[in-house]
Subunit: 220 residues, 2 copies
Amino acid sequence: MLSIAEENYIKRLVYLSLENGAGDGVGTNELATGLQVKPSTANDMLKKLRQKELIDYEKYGKIHLTELGTKIGMEIIRKHRLWETFLYEKLEFTWDEVHEVAEQLEHIQSEKLVEKLDKFLGFPKFDPHGDPIPNQAGEMQLLAKKMLAAVNVGEQCKMVAVKDNSAVFLNYVVELGLGINNQIEVLSKQDFDDSMEIRINGKTNRVSKKFAQNIYVIAD
Amino acid sequence: MLSIAEENYIKRLVYLSLENGAGDGVGTNELATGLQVKPSTANDMLKKLRQKELIDYEKYGKIHLTELGTKIGMEIIRKHRLWETFLYEKLEFTWDEVHEVAEQLEHIQSEKLVEKLDKFLGFPKFDPHGDPIPNQAGEMQLLAKKMLAAVNVGEQCKMVAVKDNSAVFLNYVVELGLGINNQIEVLSKQDFDDSMEIRINGKTNRVSKKFAQNIYVIAD
DNA sequence: TAATAAAGTTAGTTTAATCTAACTTTTAAT
DNA sequence: ATTAAAAGTTAGATTAAACTAACTTTATTA
Ligand SMILES: [Mn+2]
Ligand SMILES: [Mn+2]
Ligand SMILES: [Mn+2]
Ligand SMILES: [Mn+2]
C-alpha cells in the first residue's frame, strides 16, 4: 500500500507523462516543481518508486512509469474525478471548490467505495471540468479537443473542458457566462498579443491568449 | 490544523473520558492501549497536545480534554458517524463495513463538506450502529439506554444500538435476525454463566453474557 | 510500613518525507 | 571544443511518529 506522498508522486508522473507525450519520459526537476518540493526530495522518492517497480529510472535518465505505476496512477485520477463529480452533482459544490477537497478524498483506500460511488453517480464519463473519468480498467474516453486559442476567426466551437483548475480561473470563466457545453464563436484575433473577441450566448468579450489556452473546445 | 495522528489521539480521549465518567480523566497506558501504541509514544503525544492546549495534563497526572479539545473531538466523531450513515444509506454498504472506511473519511478537512453531507443525508440523528450523531455545536441526543444484560427476565425491550463495532460481532447480530429497533424479550437467565434466552421475532436463541453486554436497549 | 507491582516518563534509535549546501553530469552556447 | 548553464545527485540535518530499554513515581498488598 502506497503512502499519500507516494500516490501524489505517481499521479503527477501520469500528468507529466501525458503532457510530455509518447515515451519522452519526465525529468526530476519538472516533477519536483509540479509537486512543490525540491529536486533532492523528488530524487529520494524516485529511488523508492523504482524499488517498488512503479517507475523505470536510472541515474541522470528520464522517468517512465511502469505498467503497474500507470495503473495505480489512473486509479488515483479515477477516484479524484469521481469525488469531484460527487461533490458537484450531489452536494451542491461549485466547480471551483471541488478540486481541493478531491485532493484529499482521492487517497481514501477502499475499492468497494470507489465502485459503489461510481454506481451511485450513474457511471459518469466526465467530471465537472470536462475531464474524462477512467473506468475500472483505467481507460477513459478521450475527446479530440483543441485549445480555444487554436480556433480560427469566424468559426464556432463548443467548450468541453478547462485546463487550469484553479478557483481564480474558474470564477473568471463563470463571470464571462461560460460553462461546459456552451457555444463559442471566435469573432476576431489580435495579432499583437493573440487576444481574441469571442461571442458567448450573444454577449461579446475580449479574452487573452492565456485565457484561450486554458479552454478546451471541439468543432461545432 | 491537526495531523491524522493527533486527531486519533483526541478522538480516543473523548471515548475514554466518556467511559471513565465525569471528571475522572484518562491514563497514559489506557490511551496507549486504545490506540495500539506504546505508552512512551502516547506520552510524547501528550506533551504536544498540551502544548496545543487541547488537554490539561501534568506529569504522572490524569489527562483531561480542554473545552477546545472536546470540541475538536466531537467534530471528528460527527464526521465519522455522518460518513458511516452515508455509506450505509446511500452506497449500500452493510453496517459491518462502514466503520473501517469512516476511520479514513473522518480525517477529511472541509467544513463545507461536512455540512453539505449532513444536509444531503437529511440531518440524521443516529448512525447505522445506533450511535448519536453530534450536531454542528457538538451536542448529541443521548438515549437513556441500558445493556441487554441488565434487562430482567420476562421484560420486553427494543434494541437501539450496539457497543462493539467489529465485523465479527455485527455479523453475528445479523445472523440472529437482530437489528436496530427490533424487539427483544428476555425469556430466562442462567445464573451459572449469565447467559440468557431471548426471543427475536418469534425465534428463540441463547446468547452469552459477553453478547448481552454489547447490545444496547431501551424499555419497551 | 516496606516491598512489589503497576503506571508513567525519559533517553536514545528508526523511518518517511522534507530541507540546504555542495557536488557531478548533461546540455547548450559561444 | 571549451565553457557556462541547467539538470540531477549526494551528504547531512530536521521533524513527526513510532519503537525499546531503562528509569521514576504512584498504587497495592502482604
Ligand atoms: Mn481536480
Ligand atoms: Mn477535474
Ligand atoms: Mn464507527
Ligand atoms: Mn458507528
